[in-house]
Amino acid sequence: MDYLSQKRMDHGHAERFVQLMAEFERPMRRLCAVYADRAMDRDDLFQEIFLAVWRALPAFRGEASARTWLYRIAHNVALTWQARQRRRDTQEGPLSDHAGPETHIDVRRLELKRTIARMPPGDRTLVLLWLEGLSAAEIEDVTGIKAPTVAVRLSRIRKALQPNEVTP
């Protein structure tokens, strides 16, 4: 691959990057879907996240797990990216720019996405990390919010995501 032969990257760095991208592409696309409604914006945010990963990778020595390290970058990029946007387009995100929900689970997922997109940034960050399967301790590591506080806030947020609120 031509990107592996660029002068400024060593081979291991590039391989690690491709590995990370393969492993975390789907979680990052899910994150981007909450922060941006338009496909173009989602792609832009996705690229910004992996651009930050690419630039931070040479300094990554493995003190933290790759997963929490990457989620830190992703949420930092998403929050600063959103601060740059002129429109607050996640407040009333339409469902219509998707191919069209075809199954019950698609509808549930899109409603869930919309509910999360309407949340304030702090709650949104916590619930996204929790939905991706991070523990309270890992969420503390990513956000800097103490694990007990994370647990309390998540318990409150979960109530807002009960099935009767998620089901259309």
């Binding site: 691959m1 990107y3 660029q6 990057f17 491709v18 991208m21 393969a22 592409e25 789907r26 696309r29 899910r30 981007c32 879907a33 496909a39 996705f46 690229q47 992996f50 651009l51 930050a52 690419w54 630039r55 931070a56 300094a59 990554f60 390290w69 830190r72 970058i73 949420h75 930092n76 990029v77 929050l79 600063t80 959103q82 601060a83 740059r84 689970i105 698609d106 997922r109 869930l112 996405k113 304030p120 940034p121 702090g122 709650d123 960050t125 929790w130 939905l131 399967g133 523990s135 309270a136 990513v142 956000t143 800097g144 919010i145 647990a151 998540l154 979960r158 009960q162 099935p163 998620v166």
Partner: protein, 194 residues
């Protein structure tokens, strides 16, 4: 984390496959990296070129100008030119330091907000730190008016004032945009730790 989480997680995990294959996605990221680095290199290069090409000439003119007024004018322009290049380098450096990295969210948002404050200060004072260049050119206009033609002095003076106002207006717009961004980061930070 209760068990009722898992249906939600299952629903959540069911979505969002990318349109690109992995190779295309990687290449697009690296293309973006190259484009941004090249833009930054060009801006730094332009600053360095101004320092190397323009400042020595202005200093020479400040030393050997035809009259004290002209010498002061060129000296001011040299000072303004250096101030402009330094300001541009600072702005780029602070922009780079504001970029999100692998810090925890609280530290990251605080650092970005701090860097935005620094950039706001720089843009807010743009009309001031760029003023030596414009004052210098206006002094040259005075000399032109006294020694040469009124029309030439008026033309150059008008263009200079227009450029100065333009820089001021651009700085006001940029300051407003950076302030808006700073406010939204503050909101996110406050909400994160509510």
């Amino acid at each position: 984390m209760s068990e009722d989480a898992f249906p939600l997680r299952a629903i959540w995990m069911s979505g969002a496959a990318g349109d690109d294959d992995l190779r295309t996605a990687v290449e697009r990221v690296l293309d973006k990296d190259r484009a941004q680095r090249s833009r930054e290199r060009r801006l730094r290069g332009a600053g360095a070129a101004a320092m190397v090409a323009l400042v020595p000439v202005l200093i020479w003119a400040a030393a050997f100008g035809v009259s004290p007024l002209v010498r002061v004018a060129y000296a001011l322009m040299a000072v303004g030119c250096v101030a402009g290049v330094v300001a541009e380098w600072l702005y780029l450096a602070w922009s780079r330091r504001a970029l999100p990295g692998p810090d925890d969210t609280r530290s990251q948002l605080q650092r970005t907000a701090f860097m935005l404050d620094a950039q706001v200060w720089l843009t807010r004072t743009a009309a001031l730190w760029s003023s030596p260049v414009f004052v210098g050119v206006l002094l040259i206009c005075v000399w032109l008016y006294r020694e040469r033609t009124l029309a030439g002095a008026l033309t150059i003076g008008t263009l200079t004032l227009a450029a100065w106002i333009g820089i001021g207006a651009g700085a006001v717009r940029t300051t407003a945009e950076l302030t808006r961004r700073r406010r939204r980061l503050d909101e996110a930070l406050a909400d994160l730790h509510a």
